[in-house]
Amino acid sequence: MKMIDSNIFNPFLGSVVTNPWKPAKVDVPEIHAEAFERCRQAIKYVQKAHQSTSIIIHGAAGSGKTHLMARLLLYLEGLPSVFISVPLKTSHNMLWRHLRRCLVDDLLRPVDNDQTQFNKIVALRLRSNIPHFESWLSQVQMDHDLYCILSHLLNNEYRRETRAWLRGDSMSETDLTKLNLPAPAEDEEDSEDKSRRVILSLCKLFGQDICLIFCFDQVEALQNRPGEKTGFFAFGKMVGALHDGTENALLISCLQSSFLDPLLDSVDKADQDRLTSCGKFSLDPLNYDQAISLISARLDAVSDLAKPRQGRPRLWPLKESDIKVFFEDRPTETIVAREVIAKCEQLFETAKGKTIGRPINTSDFLEECWQQNLEKAAVKNNPEDSDQIIQHGLPGLLGLKDDSWQEKQNSTLKDIDLIFSQPKGDQIEISLCNQQNMTSLASRLKRLLEGLKKGKFQKLILMRDPRWPIKSTAKKTNEYLAELKKLGVRMIHPPVEVLAAVDALRALLSETKAGDLAHRGQTIEPDTLRKWLAENISPALQDFIEDLATPGEDGFPVEALLGLLEEHPLLKLTEVAAQIEQPPQSLEDWVRKHPGLVGFLNGPPALLFQIVPDSFPSDFSEGPA
């Protein structure tokens, strides 16, 4: 029966808070009040004792861990603090690099009247008896490069480039010269170590009285397979280093209760002590009264309902008896906020007189989620993210199709980012070569060549984003690459379409592992998603997997082709064929076989063109998406 106008907004839509920076419109402070208080006390402790501390917050999927972090973020407004959200959708091999990106993105995120968190700290520092920027920076011992970058940032110059450097993005020679920074040394420092040093220096620079709250969300996403310990172990090491290497950090790790024991069992005893130095706190399921408060608060937030609700029962247009029955069906009081909201969403629709049709099945729901994720990934895809996308996404992708390809830990091979092996002994080693800087790339290729000659690799594959072609002027790089290719090494350029799909896949898998993918209030199991993805894998991804697994290289000069189209985005096929010294027919065959890399128009005359993605990432001044 219709009780209210069908145009009234359903306040129970959108039950999942997945990003603390995008809080829910309604908050009920008495829910998880103890956990919130514990976090507040921990902040006070850090500020008073000048000692970092760490707390674990855990609960069932949908219990409101991220919601709690959003509440904490609101509480911090006006306090001398910095909030850094670190969703752990990343590979354990690049935890420090990921943290560095999250830290910089959130520091430079406009929060208050377009003021960034960084600007707020600067204002505080300059107020506290520090006359100018230089004297502030010189208080902390730091690298010359970081000092230079911070000086530029404080003087509000080269914003795009300083941001890129701070995030740890690969920088071209031109950009480095602009920033007065030297070209990277031939034997560059390990980028994880470098990121760790930058983070610790920044924490020190902010000073003891500014509390940095690192919120590590979706910790469970670090585990690729049940029982795997590597990701958790690396996470424990990182938290341990932050705990001991800083004096002003509160480290909050959020995860599902079912992953609490696996996490603590995977880390060293010393890191376990650091992870829980401020304890572990559980977000319990809602009791009946809390559920009623939550429902009332959501209904109260709809102004159109204020008048019709006057003088009626508190949950009108919902019936309290329906909620009672819902609770009685689960006598053990294990209902989490997400389930209550999902139930009320349905009840509200019924009150609007909408007959609930046949619910869409899980497969259709997953199809919808996949398309949404794919669109999002395509919009934000840029070459700076390719390392992270491949390193984190490839193990998940290979795990879908062929279980026999297992990721193997690499503790000895320098410049190798991923190793996959099969039980019968086959192995591929992947080196991600997404350096913008040709000196860095040439150094990496040189080291790989030396390793190859010493017989260190079984089947080496290089991977580079096609949007960063290697120009013909990069002589050393091209020389090393040619020699590597002569020795059977392949360079794969995953098409942008494939990179976006791998990005969407890793995001969806992480969301599911964290219990954030829910259909009608019910959490989707990772295995269900994996099965669906395996059955619905796109032909482009399928080709990419096959390309990885097939041995040998056709010897086609891809780099020369991409480099040429970078300089001349539209050329006749015959001209290109002449320039790269290939018969026109073989060029056409190759282009048709690799549709995502180079555009092709049949003609006549047949034309080749550079593929430019549909959407570009937003300008950095708008803050991260």
């Binding site: 004792a49 855990h58 049940p226 401020c278 399921p285 009081e333």
Partner: protein
Amino acid sequence: MPKKILELPNESVLSEKILNGLAQQNQPKTAKELRRLLTGPFKLPEDRLIELLTSLVTKGKIFEWPAKGKGKPRYWKEQPSQFISKKIVEGLTEKPLTSLELKKVLGKQLFGIPKPKKDIDHGIQSLLLQGTILQHPKVGGIKAKLGLRPPDPKPYLQKVQKELDQVFKMLAPSQVSREAINKALFNLLGISTISEVPLEEPRILDLEDQIISEMVKIEPRASTGALVSLQRLRKSLGLEKELFDRTIINMAKKSRIILHEHSFPMGVSEEERNYLVDDKKGHWYVGAVLKDK
């Protein structure tokens, strides 16, 4: 016969030896003291040993301890702050103590840490924050103390008791019995009288109490709301699966404990799933929290 040349062990073997050596020590040692314990090819020059020790400290495998007086830094398997926390908890095991009493008890157990009082204060603050130890507020002539368990509320109710006695004295001439006053008080507090609580089968109640005390034994912070793994609890109690599951579900129904559900029970092996508690309605539970924290 040519003299046999002793081959120097590599860094990982040396580190392993040092770690094993330190693990056996019951207090921190300086590099010099540690060197005395090493023999043969492991007896490195002191500066090389310090280099190795520093590298192990950086990796978080061992911890540096401040020097005793004007001596040299020391090294040990335990971190100073964690060690102090452990000692504070040990010191409070027997009975609650004032902060001063605690400092006296711990005084000589901290192996010459330069500012023990300050470090103990830090440790107390941190343990209070974690909920591992609890404040026992000052009451009457009893000083404020620290304890592992919540304080006994009795001394805090002495004033209330006196007032109740006065009410009794005042109403006794009007033929109001103490029982009637108690009943009125219970009503006022919104609790049923003891005689109204239905009696349970004693064996089940015993078992539930046993489970609760085991929960606190496994996880000392359980009394302040920490989750106890049902897998650990099951292993530790060694009860038959059916009985354990039924009792846990009953305790949740009676609101003695709160259960946490496993999000992906079908994603774990059958063996692991067997350790979870199953309510036979498609829900699997991974941990329990004491309701009356």
